[in-house]
Structures are given as structure tokens and as C-alpha cells.
Amino acid sequence: MWLTCLRTDKFKNGVLSVSLLTRLCRENAAKNALIPSVLRRGTKRFPDMDALAARLDDLYGASIEPVVRKLGEIQSVGFAASFADDRFIPSGGTLLEDVAGLMGEMLLSPNTRGGLLLPQFVDSEREKLLEDIRARVNDKISYSRYRLSELMCVAEDYAVDASGTEDEAESIGYVPLTRHYHELLAASPIEIFYVGSASAERVESAMREALLALPRGELDEDIGTDIRMNTLEAETRYFTEEMDVGQGKLCLGFRLGSCMEDPDIAAIRVMNAVFGGYASSKLFMNVREKLSLCYFASSGVDILKGVMLVVSGIEFDKYDQALAEIFAQLEAVKRGEITDKELASAKASVGSALLAAADSDGALESFWLSQNVQGLEYGPEELAALVDDVTKADVIKAAQGVECDAVYFLKGTGHVEAEDDED
């Protein structure tokens, strides 16, 4: 169990999170994702949603919400709380202790019968999980991104989404889920995060008290992410699917390759910015501004897995042109066709975003969880300083091994490409 504590007076709210880390895999992802939602339905002291809602309202609208995240091939499940800082409570108070205590109750003393999670809670939350999983298709852009990851990483755990798959979710019953819950509690490494005005001693004491009843067995330390250096097959794989959409969604998945052997995170972030990370990037300036092919074309890196995704929305018949331009811009980065101005602007943008993250309680929480999972000890300000030192040679080096593994295109139902259209 690890505690990361940032003491500052600048925020008016405190943020506290407890994350149980476990291996992301198809068999367990849905079960893991379901657990915090079931626990959030009622505790021994506050047995149902009405009682919990009344308690949280009384704590000045403190929120304690289930959080399920995918960090590379680690699944993080737990709770995140946001609550008013004691200094701004009209009557004064000890909200940190109250919220920590309630979070501990949710995690360790749920409302059970005969030691089993209540079947009505499990059934109800399983349906909601299924609704969430099925709702992936509603946002066509994130759906395309999800489909690409699934197809590209078909042989890896990374293909699994944080909330798991429909098939696995459908078959979850309350008895096996109770068993799984106890295993998860006993074996998962736990990350606790706090940012706010309380001292580290106060946070530690509140959390010790809240998690006193935590049963610990042999910890599963063998969790982590398998970084694949090369593409799955020698040639890029192409996938096309049809749906009733008016705009095509184009998604490209890349392996970062050689730079992941000893990743220079600052250089990789700058490389991504130069290529497609913001509005002055090559993708935005060329695919959008020069060719007017799209409204958005951007890239993003998942450093934990060593992959980069490019997403854009285009007319169906602009597929070849958009694809060719995206590849051409990546080649330009690899060849070092980067002006001093482009490099300076990308560094300023990446550095500034990190410094701004240090001014946001929510951004700090996710930044530090990711750092802790990677075993990295530096904060956003230190990473911003590293970004400042990135050279053009570093960017070229980071881009050198980048290879396109898979391309996914979601196009309209029955759309026929112009060249196939024979009269």
C-alpha cells in the first residue's frame, strides 16, 4: 500500500483516491469493473443509495465515485473523492476524516447478507455495466478508437477495455463476484492519493483508520505491461467496417518501437506534439489547414504501452488522400524535417500543459497514478524541465522506430468508392 500526498493551500477542494491495481485481462476485467459500483450501492452503516446520498449531501456534497481505469495492461479499480476543504465550510469540520472513513466503509464493509454481496445490487449494477459497454457504439469517434485497439492488439491484454467485455459481464453472479472481491482486496497493490491542505500525517492517520480492516494476503506484484516493439505482422493490417454514419472515422495505430527500450518520456511527448498533438502540429497544419480534409486530425501516445493513435473524421472518399498525408507527415518527422519554430512551439506547448496540470487537483491525481505505476518519482514540473531540454535529435530518435501496425476505417453503410462505381 502506497500513499502519495501533496500538501497545498491553493485548492478549495481536496481530492482523495484509492486505487487497487490488478492485471488487465479478458476473464476478469468486467468483474473488476463491477466491484466498485456494487460497493457504492450500500454499506453496513449506510445500507442503500438513499442513505449514502443523504450522508454525502450532508458532507457538503462530497462525491465518492467508482473509478475504473486502464493503465497499459494494468486495470485500476477503486474510488475517487472530491470534497470541500475544511477552511471553506461555514461551520468548520473534518471532511477529510469523514470522507476517508466513508470510502473505507464502501471498500471494506459493504451491505451483505450471509457474507455475500446482495444479489439485487449485483444484478442492477451488472445491467448498468452492460449498458455502459453497449453504449461504446454511441460516440462513433471513441468507438473507432476502441475498435482499432481491439483489432491491433488482438493477441495482447491491451485489447481489453477497462470495463471489460459484454460476454464476460453477462455471466457475472453474486457468489463468484463476492469471492473475486475478496481476492482483489487481498492481492492487489493499492495506491492512495491525496491533494489538499491537510498534512501528510493527518492523511496517513485517516487512511490507516479507514483501512484498518483490510485483509492482506500475498500481493500480486507480477503486474505490468508487455510492450510489443514491432508490429504484429510484417505489413500494416487494414480493417474497414460499415455503420450508418455520415462521416468516415479514420484511426491509425502505431507501435513506438525502439524508443521504448529506454523511453525518453519528454522526447516522446514532444515528438507526438510535433506530429499531431496540438493545433500547430504537422497533422493539423497539413491534413486540416492545408488540405481541408477534416475538422480534427490528432495523435496521442500511451507511454505505458508504447503505442500512438491517430484519429480523424473525413469524407468517405477522402480515405486514400488522408491516409497518404498522415503517413507522409510521420515520414517528415522521422527525416527530421522539423523547423526550429516547430520544435520550440511543441516544447512550449507540452511544457506548459504539464505546468498547468500542477494547478489542477484532478490532473495531479491521474498524473501521479500513472507515475507510480511506472515507478517514476518526478512531478509535472520536473517533467516540464526535461521537456525544455529536448533537442531535435531526441525527437528524431523517438520517431525512428515508429511503425504503423493497423488502420481502421468506419464508413457509411453501402458506401461505394468512386473508382468502383461503374455505370
Binding site: 446520498a53 457538503y60 456534497g61 471553506f88 462521416q247 496540438y278 473524421g313 519554430k341
Partner: protein, 428 residues
């Protein structure tokens, strides 16, 4: 020389200090300094907004193509010396803009070079520079933005509700226009709209973060000297009646389950202290009625009729106010009927005092949380300036709101006959 000290207002309970000033040309400026932070968020609100399609100038009615304010927003970043977006990004700023029916706002967040960035923001919003080539080129980009929205069920369910609620308001039209309507937008149309609506008394500058209020106001004085021309008359076709134009809209799309939006018109916009009070009362009433800790939501959640995607809020644009409740449900019709029953009960019995007391505490915490977002604060200040109130006063107003007042608001504004519903159903 005209000189007046800016106004400083302290909000000790919530630890905020607000500086405000009105320049001789009518521009309103608000600054909330945050010396403990490194970042600053600045928003500059232009006079033209999404709903301003028809207006009168020197007594003459003018009509512009749907989507003109949004098109103008895209092209404002062009400057004779290059693109302002790139100039801001080169200094590490994160600039953007948005057009809604309520406002067009240009903004940036930065951690360094604040004054240089503010100078760029004030200059590019004041400098119309449109060429035929650049305006033509933007058409492909905006067409794709429109297509992207048309593929989004969230957008479609909202637009369909607007068409249910309103009979003639510009809120019926999409802010970005259509791929067809934007074909008629030329550099001249953009120049005209910029000129007509570029009136400092129609505009506002709001800054939250590590900034010196004196410097912000001095720079606004130096760079925004224009007195503005004649102020155009906004033409929204007169106030809307209380009842919706139609009570139900249904459309099919590729979605996993029905997506729904229930709404009601709240009547013409108020000004000043009554406007703020109405917002505080309305949002607390919605919280008590259907918020995520209300008995109504918890019951329907338990019955499988609602899930975590449900939410409710108030919206204000184009001279109109409205209440909106939406989410996903396997059976939106039952949700609507249950909501109507709940409203009828509240109209007769009022809100339970214990429920109201705890919801009020939660509303305080919720408002405190908003203070953590510089963007929400700056945009909220800009919105408040035009309605004649300061959102920071909401904390004091909240203390005085009663359960009867909230119940009265819900009974009147959400009277069952005023409700309309838009549903996006899964395509077979």
C-alpha cells in the same frame, strides 16, 4: 484624462477577490487574481453570438446565413502577419474558441508570457482579416465539423428538443449551420458581421489566474480604443410562449439504447439580481427534484430506468431560459411520466424540509467545486456581465433560498404541459 479606480470586491467566505471595471467605450473587464497558481485563463467575449442571424441596423432588417457566427469564429484567428492560434501556441498557451447561441468566446490558458498572450488575444479579435482563399478553404473544415456533429446522438437529441420547444427562436437552428447554408458565406458577410457586432459595450474580457488586474485593464484600454458604431438591434422574433411547439420528437440512429432529453422553456431572460436568484433557485430545485441524490433519481436508478448518464441543468440563450434533463433509458416515456408525477407531488406538497436542507449544503459544495475551474469561472463571469450579475454572489443568495421558493419554481417552470421530450431510438 478619464480615470476611475476599478472596483474591488472581497468574498471572504470563499476566499475570492474580484476586480471589475468598465472602460469608457463600454467594455466590461473582470479579473480574479490567483497568485498561488502558475496558470491563467482569459476569455474575450465578442458581440456576435450564434443566435444573431437576423438583426436591424439603422432601422433596416438584415438576414445572414445560418452558421455565420461560428464561421467568423473560425476565421478570426487569421491575421495579416499569420495565424494567431500558432502565435499563442508558440508561447505554450492553449488557445481555443467556441460559439454557442449565448456567446462567442475566444480564450486561452497559459503558464508563461501572459501579457504577450493577452495582447495577441485582444488584437486578433479586433482585427478582421478575411481573404477569399482562406474563407473558401475553411468551408471543407467546417463541413466536416458539421458532419461530425450530425453523427453524434448527443447533438441530435439536443437539436431535436430545441425544435420541439421553440416555435420561431434561432435556437431551432444549429449554431454551425448546415453544409448547404455555409456555402453562401463570403469574406464580405464576415466583414459586415464583425463590424456590426464589434461593439465594446457588447463585449467582455474576463481573466482568472496569476494576473495583475491593473495590467489587464491598462492593456484593454490601450488596445481596445474603438467606440464602436451603431449598436445593432437583435432580432429573435419576439418572446416565445410558455408551451412547447410540439411535445415529442423521435428519430432513429445507431445507438445502444434510447437517448432522451426532456426540457421546458422558462420564459424570457431576467436581468440583475432577480436573474441570479432565479438561477440559484432553479438549479437547487432541479437538484431536489431530479439530481443524482434525489429520491426520484435513486428510485428510477434502482428500477433500471435511469443510469449514471442522467443529468439535469439550466440553460440560457437568445433571450430565453430553459430547464433540461437527459440521459439514456430503455423506456424514456415512463421516465417522463414518472417525472410529471413527481412534479405534481412537489406542486402540492412542496419539498421535504430535511431533503431541502441537505441538498442546500450539497449545492454549496457543488458551487465551491466550480471555483476550481478557472475556465468555468471566467466564462461564468462573462455570462453574468451581460445578465447584470456576478456569479460569486450565488453563495450569499443560496443561504436565503427557501424550500417553498424552489417548489414554486418547479411547479411553475416544469408544469407538465410545458414539458417536451426528444428521443433518439436505436435503429433496427
Amino acid at each position: 484624462m478619464w480615470r476611475r479606480k476599478m472596483t474591488k470586491t472581497e468574498y471572504p467566505g470563499i476566499g475570492e477577490t474580484l476586480y471589475t471595471d468598465t472602460l469608457p467605450n463600454g467594455l466590461q473587464v473582470c479579473v480574479i487574481p490567483k497568485p498561488d497558481y502558475r496558470k491563467v485563463f482569459a476569455v474575450f467575449r465578442h458581440g456576435l453570438r450564434g443566435a444573431d442571424r437576423r438583426f436591424t441596423l439603422a432601422g433596416e432588417p438584415k438576414n445572414t446565413p445560418a452558421g455565420v457566427a461560428h464561421y467568423l469564429e473560425h476565421k478570426m484567428f487569421d491575421m495579416p502577419e499569420g495565424n494567431a492560434l500558432m502565435a499563442l501556441e508558440a508561447r505554450g498557451a492553449n488557445p481555443n474558441a467556441f460559439t454557442s447561441d449565448a456567446m462567442t468566446a475566444y480564450h486561452f490558458e497559459c503558464t508563461d508570457y501572459f501579457e504577450e498572450n493577452l495582447r495577441t488575444l485582444l488584437q486578433f479579435v479586433s482585427t478582421p482579416y478575411f481573404t477569399q482563399e482562406s474563407v473558401d478553404k475553411e468551408r471543407g473544415i467546417i463541413s466536416q465539423e458539421i458532419r461530425m456533429c450530425e453523427d453524434s446522438p448527443d447533438y441530435r437529441v439536443y437539436m431535436n428538443l430545441m425544435r420541439c420547444l421553440f416555435s420561431h427562436s434561432p435556437l431551432r437552428d444549429s449554431v454551425a449551420g448546415t453544409v448547404e447554408s455555409i456555402q453562401d458565406i463570403t469574406p464580405q458577410v464576415l466583414y459586415d458581421c464583425h463590424k456590426v457586432f464589434y461593439h465594446p459595450s457588447n463585449m467582455a474580457l474576463c481573466v482568472v489566474g496569476r494576473a495583475d488586474p491593473e495590467r489587464v485593464i491598462a492593456m484593454a484600454r490601450e488596445l481596445l480604443t474603438s467606440e464602436g458604431a451603431e449598436k445593432p438591434g437583435r432580432e429573435y422574433g419576439g418572446p416565445e410562449g410558455a408551451l412547447p411547439e410540439q411535445s415529442l420528437s423521435e428519430e432513429d440512429m445507431v445507438v445502444s439504447a434510447p437517448q432522451f432529453f426532456i426540457g421546458a422553456k422558462g420564459g424570457p431572460l431576467l436581468k440583475g439580481a432577480p436573474a441570479l436568484r432565479e438561477r440559484v433557485v432553479g438549479s437547487l430545485a432541479l437538484r431536489c427534484l431530479a439530481g443524482t441524490s434525489s429520491p426520484f433519481y435513486i428510485r428510477l436508478y434502482g428500477e433500471g430506468l435511469l443510469n449514471g448518464m442522467f443529468g439535469c441543468d439550466l440553460d440560457y440563450a437568445a433571450g430565453e431560459s430553459m430547464a433540461l434533463l437527459g440521459g439514456e433509458s430503455r423506456d424514456p416515456e415512463t421516465v417522463l411520466q414518472e417525472l410529471k408525477k413527481q412534479i405534481t407531488t412537489v406542486a402540492t406538497d412542496g419539498f421535504d424540509e430535511a431533503l431541502f436542507a441537505r441538498q442546500k449544503k450539497a449545492a454549496y459544495g457543488g458551487r465551491l467545486r466550480v471555483l476550481g475551474s478557472f475556465e468555468a469561472m471566467a466564462v461564468g463571469l462573462a455570462e453574468g456581465l451581460f445578465a447584470g450579475f456576478c456569479p460569486l454572489d450565488a453563495f450569499a443568495v443560496l443561504k436565503t433560498v427557501t424550500a417553498a421558493e424552489c417548489a414554486g419554481w418547479a411547479a411553475e417552470k416544469l408544469a407538465p404541459a410545458r414539458l417536451a421530450m426528444s428521443v433518439i431510438k436505436p435503429k433496427e
